[in-house]
């Protein structure tokens, strides 16, 4: 039963603090180092939260770092930079999900022809180390199915699943990122997991 968590986005706080101070001193290299350090994780978070839309995930991830660029001088070093940048990313994605532009795009994409496996054409090519093509195809089918199940979850449930089970944040960190109370995070996460489990069972 042991908790198999990915290493969360918390890198090296000392190094991150040095990059931030370098950026605040006027050197852009510090900012570039922060972007390079977090770009994949932020992009992955946006991709999962935005229904697997690669283009929208790219846009939201860029917007996240632009916001970071503008507001990094407000960062307080007594808190974790990873939760701070993730909070920006989650809010950016929430705003994107609420936007009419994103809804129209999602509606338009749902009318596009899907591939034989049921995976949306906008999905990226997923890598699988399985040697046989059949195994690769099965793995892709399974990943696409899981992804569809996650996308089918309500927004807050998906958010908690992604933060906890994909990004590997602790409950306390999730409270910092989402602003929920600890009890709310626990109850919402339990409910979201049950719904995901039922969805996967039904699929």
């Amino acid at each position: 039963m042991g908790e198999e968590r990915k290493q969360p986005g918390i890198g090296f706080p000392q190094q991150e603090a040095a990059w931030i101070r370098s950026f605040l001193a006027g050197e852009r290299d510090g900012f570039d180092a922060l972007v390079l350090s977090y770009k994949d994780r932020i992009f992955n978070l946006c991709f999962r939260l935005l229904d697997g839309d690669h283009e929208e995930a790219n846009d939201s991830a860029q917007e996240t770092f632009v916001k970071m660029y503008r507001s990094l001088n407000q960062f307080r070093f007594d808190s974790s930079f990873s939760t701070w940048i993730y909070a920006i990313a989650v809010n950016t994605c929430k705003n994107k999900l609420k936007s009419a532009e994103f809804r129209n795009r999602k509606r338009r994409l749902s009318l596009d022809p899907v591939c034989g496996t049921g995976e949306c054409a906008s999905f990226p090519r997923l890598e699988d180390p399985a040697p046989s093509p059949l195994a690769q195809l099965e793995a892709k089918e399974r990943q696409a199915l899981v992804h569809q199940c996650i996308d089918a979850l309500p927004e807050d449930a998906r958010e908690l699943i992604v933060l906890r089970d994909i990004e590997g944040f602790s409950y306390e960190e999730i409270t910092l990122i989402t602003g929920y109370h600890l009890g709310t995070v626990k109850s919402k996460l339990a409910r979201a997991r049950r719904r995901l489990c039922e969805a996967l069972k039904g699929a």
């Binding site: 932020i42 991709f47 990943q143 899981v146 409950y171 339990a190 997991r193 489990c197």
Partner: protein, 351 residues
């Protein structure tokens, strides 16, 4: 513990965040409940599937795209976009510009107009013709200008080479009213220039008042007549009647006249004064508009001239220096330099 309670705690049990007491109770229930155990296995396999999702990586040019976006959204551009992109903001800014321009034009126009009015038309009553006439009449020397044509008062006259004298005719006006406002087109400054008395009747008119003895008068007449005869001989005017000679002699100031005041010896001949005025007007880049004579081209009565306002001080300075003047006032009238000033100069026989 019932199955529903255990099902709710399975998520936290998987994450190992339950307190030890609850954890032991859940584990006790799972050891005896196959359904809850199966539910736990399903949940674990579902989360395994989620965690097995491969991470998606950002595009290779992600950092460049972020930099480009930052540059696009610089503070200056954001301000410009906020100011000019939305049409509802664009219109008020243009409208504000138009309003500012209109305000500036109106301010400049009325400001200049007020300044011109303040300089050109002062609130004090203008120097109308009637007021001028009354003040003019009240002056001790004023009557000469009007009566000189008909009844030139006999006055003692100075020498031939006398220099006219400038005299302010109305010191009270000069004291109380400095530089009356003059509207260039409507106002004419009137001056009286004291000249030698005209006419042959001077002597006869002066005779009843004269205090000299008949013998001295006859000697004086003889000297004057001799001087006139010699002058006319020099001019080639021969054949004139003796009376005319006498009249001409009367026009010449008697140098030996002991009875006339010293300051009246400098009075200038009207014709000479007119010639001097013409020369001054020419130097002042002005114009002689009109000259009136007393039935004789050698006896000008008045002259109307027009000079630029900027030349007015120059003209008056020379007039005061070279002639005796009666002025309505002193000082330069407040007229813009680019406008014209008219002066009506009357040649008044001096006393």
């Amino acid at each position: 513990m019932e199955c529903s309670q255990v099902t709710d705690l399975l998520s936290e049990y998987m994450d190992d965040v339950l307190d030890p007491l609850l954890k032991s109770e859940v584990e006790g229930h799972l050891s005896i409940c196959g359904d809850c155990t199966e539910a736990l296995n399903e949940l674990q396999s579902a989360l395994e599937a989620v965690r097995s999702l491969p991470p998606v990586q950002a595009p290779p040019d992600f950092l460049d795209a972020v930099h480009e976006r930052i540059d696009e959204n610089s503070f200056f551009r954001r301000v410009l976009n906020k100011l000019f992109r939305p049409p509802r903001i664009k219109l008020p800014i243009e409208l504000a510009g138009v309003l500012a321009s209109v305000f500036l034009i109106v301010f400049l126009y009325y400001g200049l107009e007020t300044e011109v009015m303040r300089q050109g038309t002062a609130p004090e009553p203008p120097l109308t013709g009637r007021l001028h006439f009354e003040e003019y009449k009240s002056l001790p020397l004023s009557k000469g200008s009007e009566d000189a044509t008909r009844k030139p008062e006999p006055q003692p006259f100075g020498g031939l080479s006398g220099k006219p004298e400038v005299r302010s005719a109305s010191p009270e006006m000069a004291g109380t009213r400095a530089a009356p406002p003059v509207a260039a087109k409507a106002r004419t400054i009137r001056l009286a220039l004291l000249v030698k008395p005209f006419g042959p009747e001077i002597d006869t008119l002066r005779e009843p008042k004269g205090k000299a003895s008949p013998a001295s008068k006859s000697r004086e007449r003889e000297r004057v007549a001799d001087a006139a005869a010699s002058r006319k001989a020099a001019l080639g005017e021969t054949g004139k009647a003796p009376a005319e000679l006498e009249q001409a002699a009367e026009e010449q100031p008697a140098a030996a006249s002991a009875s006339k005041p010293q300051e009246r010896e400098d009075l200038q001949d009207a014709a000479d004064a007119l010639a001097a005025i013409r020369e001054l007007v020419k130097q002042a880049r002005g114009t002689v508009l009109e000259v009136k004579y007393r039935q004789d081209p050698r006896k000008p009565e008045s002259v109307l001239i027009q000079v630029p306002a900027r030349s007015y001080p120059f003209l008056m300075e020379h007039l005061r220096r070279s002639a005796r003047l009666k002025e309505d006032s002193e000082g330069t009238p407040r007229v813009p330099e680019h406008e014209q000033i008219r002066l009506h100069i009357t040649f008044t026989p001096g006393e």
